[in-house]
Each structure stands twice: as C-alpha cells, then as structure tokens.
C-alpha cells in the first residue's frame, strides 16, 4: 500500500514541473515581421514557377559586391478580356544586376534591356530602425512606383510605417502575446483609388508547426498550416476565401529538402498542379525544372533553367 503512493507523488511532481515552466511575460521573443506571417506556408505554396528558359549567372567580385547577368526566354502572359482564355506572347530579355552587401547597407539593382529598373535598398539607420525601399522605375510616365518602409523592432513587438508614391500610407504592428502566439494588425490608405483598409493577423508556432491566419477589409481571409514532418520534409495547406467576391481556393503543398535537390509542389482546388525542382549539379551550378498544369483553363507551363554562381 505504501508502495502505491511514492510513484503517484513523483508523477505529480513531474507534471507540476512541466506546468511550472511558467511563461515569463516580460521576456517574450521578437515576432516575425507582419509581411512574413505566412512565410513558411508560402515557401512551399508560392514557389517561383516560371515558363520557358532561364539562365542566371552570378559573379562575385568582392565579399560585398557581385554582378549578375540573367537571360529569360519564353511566353509571357498578357491580360486578356475573358478570364477563360490566356494570351501568351513570346518574349526574351536580358537583365543586368548589381548587388552590394554591407552589414549596414544592402543595395540591389536590376536593369532590363527595355530600361526598366528594379531597385531595392535596405539600410540600418540605427540598432532598431531599418529603412527599406523598393522601386520599379520605367521610362514611361506614371508607370513607376516606389515604396519606403520604416521598420522599428522593439523587445517583443515590431512596428512598420509604409509610404508609397500616389499617396499610399500604411502601418503595421505585430506583438508577441505568448512565446508561441503573436497577433498583429495593419491599416493602410491609398490615395489614387481612394480607399482605406484594415487587417488583422495571428500566428501560432511551435518547433514542429506553424499556423497563421489573416483577415483584411478587402474581404480576404487567409488561413494556413505548416507541419514539419522531419528535417527534410514539410507539408503545408492553405485556405483563401474572399467574402465579397465569394472566391474560395484551398491548396495542399509539400517541400522536400534533400541533400542535392529541393522539390516543392502543390495541388489546388482550382485544378492547378505545380512543382519546382532545384537540383545542385555541382558546386555553384543549379538546375531548375518548373511545371504548372492548369486543368480547368488548359494552360500548361513548363520551364527549365540553369543558375551559375
């Protein structure tokens, strides 16, 4: 009889110590930035599928400086009147890029043969304040746009102010509520189509899974869940619903990170199946294969490419 009690007591003590790892609410970790709330899900579900041939050559000259040359040939979609037919026009372009990476300043510029410049800047103004700027500039008037973001990283929160051309102003805020749960909100006002919007996001993560949800006043509700099955495999699922236009899309995706290759793919409720394979042929040489099959619209996209450096 006396033997019964000691095991029970130890079991209770074990349970108590587990529960007693109390949450230190003054020492919560810094949350993920508001734009990256769905980061893990989009790694497998929004892979960069492309169509045609792609060749990227990247040459590092310095520890901080590198140049890149990129050739892309293939059909590009042109927006058509009816949503059922897709119009594709074959296009070939060459893009020259320069990158400068410093601990405090990062500059990335890409210019195409038709004169379009894609510029990105990230500067650490102080320990906690980061300025990010992103601009697409063209020669045509009124077709360029640029966005400036000021990010402030607090102890367990992040705040961001966004200013864009055409009078776009936005602000986001995300806060860690428990070590695993973070909640955030955003507000924006666009001057040209005079509308404002509000949104909320929540993210719950553990070592093995991430679940996140986002609601916006544009009517979009996004919910996704990512489960890490092992070091090499993770599965993700996504549900997007727009309560104004009544569009619903659900998708399931996978991400296999193997020693020499990485393969990501997804299946959609719109009848779209896609996959992207990145295979490392040797040091610095990567081979890409991309496929996207849309059974409903009968649109088949296949692409292959090579990345050097």
């Amino acid at each position: 009889m006396a033997d019964l009690f000691p095991p029970l007591a130890t079991a209770q003590v074990d349970a108590k110590t587990k529960v007693d790892e109390k949450v230190d609410y003054s020492n919560l970790p810094c949350p993920v930035p508001y734009d990256e709330v769905h980061r893990e899900a989009y790694m497998s579900l929004k892979a960069e599928n492309f169509e045609g041939f792609r060749f990227d050559f990247s040459k590092g000259l310095n520890q901080k400086f590198s140049l890149s040359h990129s050739v892309m040939m293939g059909p590009t979609e042109v927006p058509s009147q009816s949503p059922d037919t897709t119009i594709k026009i074959p296009v070939a372009h060459y893009e020259f890029g320069a990158n400068y990476f410093d601990p405090k300043l990062m500059l990335v510029g890409r210019v195409m043969t038709d004169g379009r410049l894609n510029a990105r800047l990230k500067a650490d103004l102080s320990d906690k304040l980061i300025l990010k700027a992103n601009a697409q500039l063209t020669g045509e008037p009124h077709m360029s746009h640029s966005v400036f973001n000021f990010d402030y990283m607090g102890k367990d929160y992040r705040a961001q102010l966004q200013l864009g051309n055409n009078a776009l102003v936005g602000a986001t805020y995300i806060q860690s509520v428990t070590p695993r749960l973070s909640l955030g909100g955003e507000v924006f006002w666009a001057g040209v189509p005079r509308k404002s919007g509000l949104g909320y996001a929540a993210r719950y993560e553990t070592d093995q899974m991430v679940a996140s949800a986002q609601v916006a006043s544009t009517g979009n509700v996004v919910m996704n869940y990512v489960q890490k099955i092992s070091e090499k495999v993770s599965l993700a699922t996504d549900f997007v619903y727009n309560y104004f236009s009544r569009d619903v899309v659900a998708s399931v995706g996978y991400d296999y990170i193997l020693r020499q290759s990485r393969i990501r793919g997804k299946v959609d409720s719109n009848g779209v199946t896609s996959a992207l394979l990145e295979e490392r042929l040797s040091m610095g040489l990567n081979f890409l294969l991309s496929a996207e099959i849309d059974h409903k619209k009968k649109d088949y996209k296949f692409g292959f490419g090579l990345t050097v450096g």
């Binding site: 000259l61 901080k64 400086f65 320069a98 400068y100 510029g109």
Partner: protein
Amino acid sequence: MAAKASLKVKAKGKGSKGSSSSSSSKYELFKDWTNWSLKKAKVATHYGFIPLIIVLGMKSDPNTHLFQLLSPV
C-alpha cells in the same frame, strides 16, 4: 442700384479671389516644387542607381578594377 450692387459684389468676389490666390499660390508653388524635385530624383535614381552600386562595390576593399568587371572569369 441693383447693377451697382452686382458690380460691387463682382469686385468683392474678384478681390477675395485675388487674396486667396496669393495665399494658395504659395501652396501651389510648394506642390510644384516638390513635383519638380521628385521628377528629377526619379530620373537621377533611374540613371544613377546601378552606377552607384558599381562605384561603391569597386571602392570597397579589395579594390577591383574595371577590367575585372568586364572579364567573363
């Protein structure tokens, strides 16, 4: 009498317009100046961003020369 009153009203209207235009013209000048400077900044960024990156990269050590940029190795 009615014609005189209407003339006075017209003059007052023109006078007020004149005063408001002198105060609103400062705002208009400010807007025009910011538009002009933004246009120039856009052109400067469009032409000068990539050369800026190249110059910054070439100056960071070890200094690289122009021929190293152009050679395919």
